[in-house]
Symmetry: C2
């Protein structure tokens, strides 16, 4: 498998960065994961806009020429990896670059940011989309800038692992009494035929798939409220589901062993799955 | 300058890690910085205990043989770098290791953690210890596990840079109306001859120098209250200072342009500096 690193395509196991890279010592960087469906990049523009927001948020100055090359690099990468007509996911990471010695302050003058891309064959989790998944609730212990898609992902990895250790698929994170996100997806609830999700804020990532769901809700005439779901009203919802780039639209059957609605994927989530699948394949 | 990486001493600019290292893609690791004074490691045991707490907190399993070698590796490193009889700081980082492809869940079976050490000649900031420093207040946006010394350090680097951009030395972070820490040091206040600092909790790092200050306070007969300093009472304090491994004991003259006490290092902080300097050199 080939990856791209700072201007060069090379074998994944030969792609190395300095121990002084601020990605390695501070988690000082941003990332994106983009879906490729039948060789076409899904909502690529939205990912690039969010990437820019992340770079601006961290004040990482990637030169505009390199930035413009990202779509081309991404396409060359999936071509080299034999995924050009296939389902794939493309991972992109930009860090503030390598600087010695290590200091908290930004390098002055700035150094060249590190640009890393990898791709993998992607198999949608069709079985989970059909069956739905079980989850646990965990405290959302993340920082207060969750709107930035940074590589400071320890709380996310710990929450996901906690779910796996509990024998379930994922976690529903709770901050200040309300449901925020999963470790790697947004969350929607359905009650009396209407949708609810956490409003765009510094406490959630503004997901690209979340944005697709808002479009779908509008198209299907499903009212959508940008109101957070309170922990104490969670089990009054008829349906609950995750949305995410690699998660797609994934129904949640149980939280902490207690069923949501019928405990099976409901009518609304199925209609959204169908519409989302059509979006994915309409490129 | 030589560094140590996974069993090998090598030139810093040749020390490379995989792009798949979880330190690089998730900030999934812990670190320590230890002071070396006249070739002797200061409070080394305390640093190793805290390192263990961090590894346990993240469930990173570093084999006990490697762990036992850390003091020896550290000494060999400063020797190779010509710092064996000098003032130095030793940086140590352990990540969960490199695994491909990237997934949030821990590698199963586990992979070998990455062990990285570097050292640098250290010059205490004597001028700042004598003059005191100016600071700004910034919101403490860190996660809720600040007691773990992890490399998820983005909020710390951003706060430090915000201070530098504001033309001051560092920042005083505020969470829920109380002073927690600086981006890289603990904070103490003095009022009516008594000391105040944030209690050990998940919202601050339990600093090694903070621990030294508690010992010093006891020895000097200065009452110490583990009570947080409220933002709204900050300017009623007579003295304010940082404590940290590379910060030492650093008086704070101003916060957001307003003086603390006389706006100059006070009698209590000077007595603590003197006692701390004696501790550093009594090894």
């Amino acid at each position: 498998m080939q990856v791209y690193l700072n201007g060069t395509f090379l074998d994944q196991d030969k792609a190395l960065v300095s121990v002084s890279d601020r990605g390695f010592v501070f988690g000082d960087g941003v990332y994106e994961v983009t879906r490729v469906v039948e060789g076409k990049f899904f909502m690529e523009k939205e990912h690039l806009v969010r990437l820019d927001e992340g770079l601006n948020g961290l004040k990482i100055d990637l030169d505009s020429d390199t930035k413009k090359q990202i779509p081309e690099i991404s396409r060359e990468l999936i071509k080299r990896n034999g995924q050009a007509d296939d389902e794939a996911s493309v991972y992109l990471q930009i860090t503030r670059g390598a600087v010695w010695p290590r200091t908290h302050t930004f390098p002055d003058p700035p150094v060249k940011p590190t640009l890393y891309l990898s791709s993998g064959k992607f198999s949608p989790h069709t079985d989970l989309h059909q069956s739905g998944v079980d989850t646990i609730k965990v405290p959302d212990v993340r920082w207060a800038r969750c709107n930035l898609k940074t590589i400071n992902l320890l709380p996310n990895t710990l929450a996901k692992q906690q779910a796996i250790d509990a024998g379930v698929n994922s976690a529903v994170m709770v901050r200040d009494g309300v449901i925020t996100e999963s470790p790697n997806a947004n969350i929607f609830g359905v009650r009396d035929g209407e949708l609810y999700t956490y409003p765009a804020s510094n406490y959630i990532l503004s997901g690209i798939t979340r944005s697709a769901v808002t479009t779908i809700a509008k198209n299907l005439g499903i009212p959508l409220h940008f109101n957070p779901i309170r922990e104490d009203e969670l089990y009054t919802f008829d349906e609950l589901f995750f949305s995410g780039t690699t998660t797609d639209i994934q129904p949640i059957n149980r939280v902490d062993g207690k069923v949501i609605g019928s405990g099976k994927p409901g009518a609304i989530v199925k209609s959204i799955q169908k519409a989302y699948s059509e979006m994915l394949h309409s490129l």
